[in-house]
Symmetry: C2
Subunit: 196 residues, 2 copies
Amino acid sequence: MNFFVPVGISNRHLHLSKEDLAKLFGENYSLTPIKDLTQKGQFAAKETVSLQTPKGELPNVRILGPTRPETQIEISMTDGFKLGIQAPIRESGQIQGSPGITMKGPLGSVVINQGVIIASRHIHIDEADAKKYNVTNGQIVAVSTDGPRGMIFKNVVIRVRHDFVTDFHIDTDEANAAGLKNGDQVKVITEEIHIP
Amino acid sequence: MNFFVPVGISNRHLHLSKEDLAKLFGENYSLTPIKDLTQKGQFAAKETVSLQTPKGELPNVRILGPTRPETQIEISMTDGFKLGIQAPIRESGQIQGSPGITMKGPLGSVVINQGVIIASRHIHIDEADAKKYNVTNGQIVAVSTDGPRGMIFKNVVIRVRHDFVTDFHIDTDEANAAGLKNGDQVKVITEEIHIP
C-alpha cells in the first residue's frame, strides 16, 4: 500500500559521548537545548564545534543532544569533499571503520579515530502507522517526489519504533537534488517498480 | 529503447560576456584555458572570480570559456543557501528574472541584475546517437542509477546537436545525492515508468 510521509532534512551535525563533551566543554557540562527535534527527546543544542582535517574545516557544526554512548558525526558528501574525507553511507550507529576527525571546542580539541558517516536515508515510522500501512522494520521501499527535480529514491529503509514520529529522513544533498523542503509530502512505494 | 550514457558533473561555474570579462580582468583580456571540457570548444579557464551577496561569499568560482553573449552563473542549491539567494532551476541560457549577484575580480566588481541559475539536468547527445537510440531534441526521459544511493531522475531533457558529446549532465548536489562520479554509466529510460 502506498502512502505519504513528510520530509525531514538533516543538516550536518554530531552526537557526542559524555567523555568527548567533557573534553570539549568541561567536566559535567550540560548541553543547552534550543530546539526540539521531530524525534521525541532529541534536541538541537546551542553548542557547536568546528570539524577540522588537514584539507579543510567546517565551523559551527551543531551538536544534537542528549549525549550518546559513542560520538558520531553526520555530514553530507558535499561536506566530505570540502574536508577531503570519504565517509561511508551508513545507518546511524554503524561507525565501525569510518574516518576519524578533529573536533575543536572552547576547551580544546578531541581527535576521534572513527565516527564520521553519511547517514543513509530512511523512513521513521511509529508502530501504529507501520501496522496501518503494512510495512515492517528493515523493509526496503522507494520514495517518489514530483516537481522539476522530481525523483525516485531507491533503497530506502523502513525503521519502526513505538516512539518514532513518522518522517522521511534525508540529508541536504538529497533534499537539494530533489528540490525538497522540510515538511514536503512524498509518496512511499512499497511494491517493486518495474523499469521498462 | 534504453541505453547507457556517462555522467558529467558540473561544479559551480560561470560564463562571462566580453563586457563583464573586460570589467573584471581588463580590456581585451583573454581567458587562459587550463582544461578542455567534454563539450567541444569549451574549456575551464585559469581565472576565477568571487561571488558575493550580503549574506555570503563563494571564493574562487571557475570561469568557463569562451565568452558568451550574456553572463550566466550556474550554482547548486547548496550554494544558493550559502549565498542566501533562490536561484531558479533553468536550462542554460534561460536567465530571464533570475537573481543577480556581485562578481569580484582582480580589477574590480561587477553587479549583474540577473544571471544566477541552477542548471536543470539534461542529456547531451550527438545526432548519430540520437538516431541510434531513437530520441529527439526536447524529449523527456528518466535516468536510473544503482548502488546504496541509487535513484531514478525524472524529467531529464534530451538535447541533440551534431557537435554534442553524449553525457548526462548533473550538478554536485545531484551527483552527491546519488553517489555518482564523473564517467559512471547510467541507464536512460525512454518509456514511461509505471509506479504501482
